[in-house]
């Protein structure tokens, strides 16, 4: 299943917030008389190109996220350049978290984070509508309890 498009919105807002800082730097570079004009222009152009690229990439990366509840385990896929697929058996889940930062909350998305006894598991599903996230958490917790196995 794909994740909500609202994730793209929340990531783009975060990007904009980060770029407020970049913009401030560029403005300072233009205002300080000792800095050569060429340098300031180069920085501004590079920042602009990176911004457009990141904006475009966010959309592709959000579409690359996906998860699937299978009978015995959960599949989470993500990434474009660095692709990842994680398979977590329900019986191995130690705890399920729902996390949402301020920007995410504002955009109405939340992240479901899974933990197993292995620190390297790294299974998270971002970009879920809060209701869906809560439901997924409960489903996972129930499935985990049914199939709980000793370490």
């Amino acid at each position: 299943m794909p994740v909500s498009a609202a994730l793209g919105r929340s990531r783009r807002i975060s990007l904009l917030l980060a770029y407020v800082l970049v913009l401030a730097v560029v403005v300072v570079l233009f205002l300080v008389p000792d800095v050569p004009r060429v340098l300031a222009i180069v920085v501004a152009v590079v920042a602009g190109v990176v911004f457009v690229w990141a904006w475009w990439l966010i959309g592709r990366r959000v579409r690359a996220w996906g998860y699937e509840l299978r009978p015995d385990d959960l599949l989470v896929a993500r990434g474009i350049m660095f692709r990842r697929l994680v398979i977590v058996p329900y019986g191995r889940m130690q705890l399920v978290d729902v996390v949402a930062g301020p920007v995410e909350r504002w955009c109405g998305v939340a992240t479901v984070q899974l933990h197993t006894a292995a620190a390297t598991t790294d299974a998270a599903i971002p970009g879920l509508v809060p209701a869906v996230a809560a439901e997924l958490r409960d489903t996972l917790a129930r499935l985990g309890e049914q199939r709980a196995a000793g370490l």
Partner: protein, 459 residues
């Protein structure tokens, strides 16, 4: 223990540690002094270096002052530890779980669920050992808080407590005593020394030490004694590894594997059956001619936090050095019914040389109905074995370069530890299939798994 006991689980039967009327036990009253004395060598070393650097008149007075400071700090520290000692009590509650109450300012009540026991260790640090004391470390599965260290009990009491914890975890009478054991391997000191010397890191460390000491003495003369002490640190790390692995013995018994080792600080660890999450073999370049390997394990709960550096590496070692046939024999005891020889290796595709030009033809993965095995590394060779039932999760990863040549890696996640189980650079489609197949194998294996209360008949 004479006569009939009506309640087999009554805690009055045996009582390691000093017990109080309410059934709670206390650690040995010498504990605060042992803690206090630990500071003395440090103060003396600092004092000596100050005196030798100063080199003024009145050396005798300086020595006296150093000793006085050392004694005073030992006393103050002992005082703090006395308060902690007064608060520390431990007992087994009605459910048979280990409870520990401690803390002076922040009080803490900890409960360790013994059905989730991962390892029990009786450790005697040098100073405690001199006065016949030892500490008991108990680790259960869970977070960093799911362990307890009881400092200090007499050696006999510590041993009794260990027996009682293991017996309760196994689900037999708490006074069952120690199960008989069968020694599997003892590492000869000669092999240990040779193996430590035949490692790239050791050679480098020794060169570094020589490289630091000689120029220092030439340039500054004997006055730079303090720097020489600093230069001796690399040698010291090699020695501490030797001293920690000295006399390494593995024994097998009904309550699991027993590992004993240590020259100055002795440790006696018990890992109950089925607690080993993964086994790894490492073979540095220079060990290859002798066919030696080091065997390391992942055990849930053997966390690195709160331990000294020395502790971090001994706890994860099953065998510091052994020839392959011996290592295989030990693995056959840890994972019964597993025959590593008969597993067929599937190599990585030839095109993986574009991604891993050095190690590509060593990469491999294989499995039978019980375990999954992987291998990697050209100069230092690595092998890993993981029972299907212990698979925590499976990951497939693919970087841009791997994608260009149609490769992907499959990671089999284990609990934190030194063993990494990974099939690097497989054919991308095959990697996907391998991950899904391993998830299926793990699910089948989990269904037939039983590791808690291992001595009780199945319910």
């Amino acid at each position: 223990m004479s006569g009939a006991a009506p309640d087999p689980f009554a805690t009055a039967l045996i009582r390691p540690g000093r017990s109080r009327p309410d059934g709670r036990r206390k650690v040995h009253p010498l504990t605060p002094f042992v803690h206090g004395l630990r500071v003395v060598p440090v103060v003396v070393v600092i004092g000596i270096s100050l005196v030798t650097q100063g080199r003024h008149e009145g050396d005798g007075a300086a020595v006296l002052i150093t000793l006085a400071v050392a004694l005073a700090s030992a006393l103050v520290l002992s005082g703090f530890h006395y308060l902690a000692w007064r608060r520390l009590t431990f007992w087994f509650d009605a459910d048979g779980d280990l409870r520990v109450d401690s803390g002076v300012l922040t009080r803490q009540e900890r409960r360790l669920q013994l059905s989730r026991l991962q390892s029990v260790e009786v450790v005697a640090p040098l100073l405690a050992r001199l006065v016949g004391l030892a500490e008991v470390r108990v680790e259960t599965a869970g977070s960093a808080h799911s362990k307890a260290v009881l400092q200090f009990l007499t050696t006999a009491e510590a041993q009794d407590l260990r027996n009682e914890i293991v017996a309760r975890a196994a689900g037999v009478r708490p006074d069952a005593g120690e199960a008989p054991e069968q020694v599997l391997v003892t590492v000869p000191p000669g092999d240990l020394v040779a193996s430590l010397l035949m490692r790239g890191t050791t050679v480098l460390l020794l060169l570094l030490t020589v490289g630091v000491i000689i120029p220092t003495v030439i340039a500054a003369g004997p006055a730079a004694l303090g720097l020489v002490v600093l230069g001796g640190v690399p040698i010291f790390t090699v020695f501490s590894e030797f001293s920690s692995y000295f006399g390494f013995t593995i024994a097998r018994s009904d309550d699991g594997l027993r590992l004993r080792h240590g020259l100055l600080r002795t440790a006696h660890q018990t890992v109950p059956p089925g607690r080993v999450q993964a086994i790894g073999f490492v073979q540095p370049l220079l060990w290859r001619r002798r066919d030696w390997v080091r065997v390391r394990i992942n055990v849930a709960g053997m966390s690195r936090d709160g331990g000294s550096g020395e502790k971090a590496y001994t706890e994860h070692t099953l065998l510091p050095v052994a020839p392959w046939p011996v290592a295989r024999a030990v693995v056959a005891h840890v994972l019964p019914g597993v025959d590593l020889e008969s597993i067929r290796w599937e190599s990585a595709p030839t095109r993986s040389r574009w991604r891993a030009p050095i190690q590509w033809h060593r990469l491999g993965v294989g499995w039978d109905d019980k375990v999954l095995v992987t291998r990697r590394g050209r100069v230092t060779r690595h092998w890993a074995v993981m029972p299907h039932a212990r698979t925590q999760s499976v990951r497939v990863t693919q970087g841009p370069w791997q994608r260009a040549v149609g490769l992907a890696s499959v990671w089999f996640d284990s609990t934190p530890g030194p063993v990494k189980v990974v099939a690097l650079h497989r054919d991308a489609a095959q990697a996907h299939e391998l991950a899904l197949a391993q998830a299926r194998r793990a699910s089948t294996a989990r269904a037939g798994d039983r590791i808690t209360r291992w001595a009780q008949p199945p319910a």
